[in-house]
Symmetry: C2
Subunit: 289 residues, 2 copies
């Protein structure tokens, strides 16, 4: 079964659990809206790719880890879109969750998705019980504080903010969780796999800054020009467009160099190269010409 099928099946099973008897129907709809139809699923695909490179001998656990990471990502998008943050009207080409379902259900859908991530990890634990604690630590520390995506978002409320720290926490941390959790789910040493995710996360954030600066809303599926509009930290605002592109290329090279020795290293290297090539907007991708 290919990775995308495994991920969608795991996410559907998670949402089915959430929608069991007792769940308010409108909250269930808001959660569905947040998770389906699918986005790029970049982080869970990365998680399964790393698990595969490490042998993936407990696939129920690696699938739960991949789905948990995507649920946490979706939760962060729902909360980031709220009126008190970006006040985004659209996401993935559709109304944002709070525009479609109201602000109370958007707050609750985000909360429920965060908890659901941990519920599904606990349910998958019998596949390899001793791996649950390191997996939880890897994912929890990458989402919460002091260094997870919630901390990263918190820097937007500070008078001063270091761009590298902000991006490492807000985006890099969940990419680092994806690679480290993929390794942990397969019984490998999570710590040695963080750097790959960290570099990919920074590359992804720089690419997002570039798209925000040069693309329009139709191409992005969400409002463009938000960094400048909200005076937010951005690689393009800091380095200029060509500087940001050069930085992105350096990060992609560092990512590939950071793959630890593992049984499936060659295949993983090919996946990483293909993924990083897709990050640049088409109008800038010289290799696509």
């Amino acid at each position: 079964m290919d990775a995308v099928t495994r991920i969608e099946r795991a996410l559907a099973a998670a949402l089915a659990l959430a929608e069991g008897p007792g769940c308010p129907p409108r909250l269930a709809q808001a959660m569905q809206h947040a998770v389906f139809p699918r986005g790029a699923r970049v982080r869970p695909r990365l998680c399964l790719a790393v698990a595969g490179a490490c042998g993936d001998d407990a696939p129920a656990l690696s699938e739960a880890a991949a789905a948990a990471i995507e649920l946490l990502h979706c939760a962060s998008l729902v909360h980031d879109d709220l009126p008190c943050f970006d006040d985004a009207a659209t996401r993935r080409g559709r109304p944002s969750v709070h525009r479609a379902h109201g602000e109370p259900l958007a707050v609750l859908a985000g909360d429920a998705l965060i908890v659901l991530a941990f519920q599904i990890l606990a349910r998958a634990a019998p596949a390899a019980p001793a791996r649950l604690a390191p997996l939880l630590l890897t994912i929890g520390d990458s989402v919460g504080v002091p260094r997870g995506i919630v901390a990263g978002q918190g820097w937007e409320s500070e008078p001063r903010c270091d761009l590298a720290e902000y991006q490492r926490e807000k985006t890099g941390s969940l990419f680092a969780a994806a690679t480290a959790a993929g390794a942990a789910a397969a019984g490998a040493d999570a710590a040695t796999w963080r750097r790959l995710g960290d570099r990919l996360g920074e590359a992804y954030q720089v690419a997002d800054d570039i798209r925000d600066a040069i693309e329009d809303e139709a191409a992005m599926g969400k409002p463009a020009g938000q960094d400048a509009a909200h005076a937010r930290p951005s690689a393009v605002l800091e380095l200029g467009l060509s500087g940001a592109i050069a930085h992105l290329e350096d990060l992609a090279a560092e990512a590939v160099a950071a793959i630890p020795p593992c049984p499936g290293g060659g295949e993983l290297r090919a996946v990483i190269l293909s993924e990083t090539r897709r990050l640049l907007p088409r109008k800038l991708d010289v290799s696509a010409a």
Copy 2:
């Protein structure tokens, strides 16, 4: 060491972890505001009381469970107070988190506290590794969907709502988590301990409805009359004041009868009786006359 000291120490350790290098200072302040100074700590005291009655042979784990439950309770208060829900100006006699720190940091503080609960459970796992998964399931299912406190809050966005279901999810579920998690942390069967917490949670919710109806803001430390103002489900609105009081007394009796056989059952029974007596507002407590 008494229960309150153990709880405050565990919560302080959790917040110290959260405030490590990399945490935005204002987010750390908002989290502190949400957790300290202490409220009644009803749920974590209940958790430790049950753990004690079951032998409490892994105190690091029962303390983590108690602290996790309180962090999740504090997170739910912060989010429930937001402008899109109760828009509460005060909580525990002080400004609510969003009034003191702004709405973005209130959303993020709630998110961070939810994740922190799971981070501290994972860190305490070495005390009794095989108990982590059941503990996580017990707590996660009681907080999220389909039957946890987030689901309970979600019923406020539905056109129709069953009062008993609403209260069981919104309040009872975290009380049931407190008793079941206390048992799970001590290696006992969590499931047999849920009914005690469930009855206590419903009693607590009914007592809250009674206080909301008859007390003023100064006595409650938060705005009074909110149920009627927001047309929310309430035992007083449904049963009348005397009906609600009779219901509360029935629930307290059912709670005491629900204590499973355990080494410290006698002491636990005394604690439960003392706690439930404190639930009624003083002006209604005939035994205090």
